[in-house]
């Protein structure tokens, strides 16, 4: 008890500033399930930077739930760049801390998102419950695993994707509410992050279907074996953007702006896009996308803008304390 409160209080108080870094070091603060991705990206970038400038660079990684990471930065973690899975978690760096420019989304192509993905399903081999689309998830007796939308950006996309699907198919907010209530009722565990949900599904053998980013579903299947799991991409899903930006305040303080900018631009280069696609992220570069076409089944993707009128409205109407998500959580059918 006391320990928890202490930790809480400390996390509420501003942390002392970290030591200034030498300009050939970057800190990339990122979301939970991107560890393996950035290990590969960083190696490729360091090689290309060395070839170009002769300088050795070290990119340090920090991974955790994306909102928690944003909070850590607001409280003093001196990130040079952020690579998150949700626009709001970057936006908050401007809204609450003025650490980045207001127009950060315009600084790089595709709203500053070098790649995109979508919530997809992972089912056990042979697909015993015959899960093809969102409707199959609300059937009685189907156990669905995804993390808590309150603590995981990944799961917020899942919630919004399910909601958007139901609203498009059944036509009204009320029907969509019912649909999501039924979906929540089929969830036996709400873990706090994407990786914990993966553990619940894979290690604990709990649940019939795991919902997470398409990239993660493919990675798990490759890791655990194609004879154990298969990936199911639903007919419609939500476009998940992975926004990146230089954290101006700290990059300037560390003198790393040029390096940080080059690092993010590298994500858009053919080489960066290849690494991203190889790790099952969908990319915008046409040539690279064509090379990896087999990996990415066709799916109708709606955007948060189209389905919900933007992240501001999503936060206000769905995600804030006491808004729709809280009400649906509390009222879900048992």
């Amino acid at each position: 008890m006391r320990r928890f409160l202490f930790a809480l209080a400390v996390s509420l108080a501003p942390l002392p500033a970290a030591q200034a870094q030498t300009p050939n070091t970057l800190l990339n603060v990122s979301y939970d399930i991107a560890r393996e991705l950035y290990v590969e990206i960083n190696a490729a970038f360091a090689k290309s930077w060395k070839a170009k400038t002769g300088q050795d660079v070290t990119i340090n990684q920090s991974h955790n739930g994306s909102s928690r990471q944003a909070r850590a930065i607001l409280e003093g973690l001196e990130a040079d760049v952020v690579t998150f899975n949700q626009v709001t978690d970057v936006q908050v760096l401007y809204d609450k801390g003025k650490l980045i420019a207001a127009d950060w989304q315009k600084r790089l192509p595709n709203n500053s998102s070098p790649y995109y993905s979508l919530p997809a399903f992972l089912v056990r081999a042979g697909n015993p419950k015959n899960i093809k689309d969102w409707d199959d998830l609300v059937k009685p007796g189907v156990q669905v695993i995804f993390p808590n939308p309150k603590t995981s950006g990944n799961a917020r996309y899942t919630y919004l994707a399910a909601y958007a699907y139901a609203k498009a198919k059944y036509g009204s907010d009320d029907k969509a509410d019912e649909f999501v209530k039924k979906l929540f009722a089929n969830v036996p565990v709400f873990d706090t992050g994407g990786r914990a949900a993966t553990t619940t599904f894979v290690e604990r053998q709990t649940g019939d279907v795991l919902i997470t980013f398409e990239a993660e579903t493919n990675a798990i299947r490759d890791l655990a074996g194609k004879d154990k799991y298969q990936v199911v991409v639903p007919s419609q899903s939500l476009l998940a953007e992975f926004p990146v930006t230089v954290v101006d305040k700290y990059a300037d303080k560390h003198g790393t702006r040029a390096l940080a900018t080059a690092y993010l631009e590298f994500l858009y280069s053919p080489e960066g896009q290849t690494v991203l696609a190889r790790q099952y992220n969908r990319v915008n570069d046409k040539t690279i996308a064509a090379q990896f076409k087999d990996r990415f089944p066709d799916v109708k993707l709606v955007t948060v803008e189209e389905a919900f009128g933007g992240w501001d409205r999503v936060n206000r109407e769905h995600l804030d304390a006491g808004a729709k998500l809280d009400r649906l959580f509390a009222a879900r059918q048992n």
């Binding site: 008890m1 928690r68 909070r71 969830v187 709990t206």
Partner: protein
């Protein structure tokens, strides 16, 4: 005045107060300051929302269940450790402290692996219709695990101090075993036992790491107060988090005041015994 081993009342008290202020009071006042930013009506709204109430209910009832379990089992354990000699006693004695030393998240992961439906304990329990992982029962088990040392470690020294001569005295005066237990032993260890139980209860209320892995974290069903606080933080809702955390602080404080009064009572009881 008799010379003290540690020099200077002024220095000793000064250090104590400074330390307590910097390490304990400062973070707590930061918490209260955050919470004080919200108005009373908003505070009541936050605390009386069904979600908060349900989290408080789940936390308190499961902490109570865990404490009840530890009360019985911890007392037995303390008794066995204090009164009997057997091979492996030192090892067992050391094992009691493991929940103190182990990171609670590790404990949570291990318990979940054991009690999940494909785990060693979970599989047979599931077969007879008692699912543990991802149910309130799992929360109670995690809390019982992390708080058992409190009961054992407060009661054990008292039993050791008690000595078996009082039992023999009772027996020589013709008391039955039950009478000795009820009239001689239990009154002597009761205050320490109560103090241990309330410490265990306070710890259970605040347990986070071990619980979130096994709880399932379902709002209105298996969501604990500490997680709800954490969730409010994830929403950048600092004040909501602080409001809920303040309630936990109050609950813990009340439990600790109770513990301290019980212990003070115990000391008076012992002093009376020496007259």
């Amino acid at each position: 005045m008799r010379r003290r081993v540690i020099p200077g009342f002024g220095l000793a008290l000064g250090t104590t107060v400074l330390y307590l202020a910097a390490i304990v009071l400062l973070p707590l006042s930061a918490l209260l300051l955050k919470a004080s930013g919200i108005g009373l009506s908003q505070l009541i709204d936050i605390l009386s929302s069904p979600r908060t109430l349900s989290a408080i209910r789940v936390t308190v009832t499961m902490a109570f269940a865990a404490t009840m379990f530890n009360a019985v089992y911890g007392l037995l354990l303390a008794w066995a450790l204090a009164r009997y000699d057997f091979p492996g006693k030192r090892l067992l004695d050391g094992l009691v402290d493991v929940p103190f030393a182990l990171p609670t998240a590790v404990a949570g992961l291990a318990l979940t692996a054991l009690f999940a439906k494909n785990g060693w304990f979970g599989r047979p329990l599931e077969a007879i219709g008692i699912p543990v992982a991802y149910t309130p029962l799992g929360i109670a088990i995690a809390m019982a695990f992390t708080s058992i040392p409190f009961v054992v470690r407060t009661v054990q020294p008292v039993i050791e101090d008690l000595g078996s001569d009082v039992e023999e005295a009772g027996r020589s005066l013709g008391a039955s075993d039950l009478q000795i237990l009820r009239r001689v032993i239990f009154p002597a260890i009761f205050p320490a036992f109560l103090a241990g139980c309330s410490l265990a209860f306070a710890r259970s209320l605040g347990e986070f790491g071990a619980v979130i892995f096994i709880a399932g974290n379902q709002p209105m069903r298996t969501e604990i107060v500490a997680l709800l606080t954490f969730i409010r933080l994830e929403e950048y809702n600092y004040q909501g988090a602080a409001a809920i955390a303040t309630v936990m602080l109050l609950m813990a404080f009340v439990m600790l005041v109770i513990t301290n009064s019980v212990q003070a009572w115990h000391l008076r009881y012992l002093a009376r015994g020496e007259d």
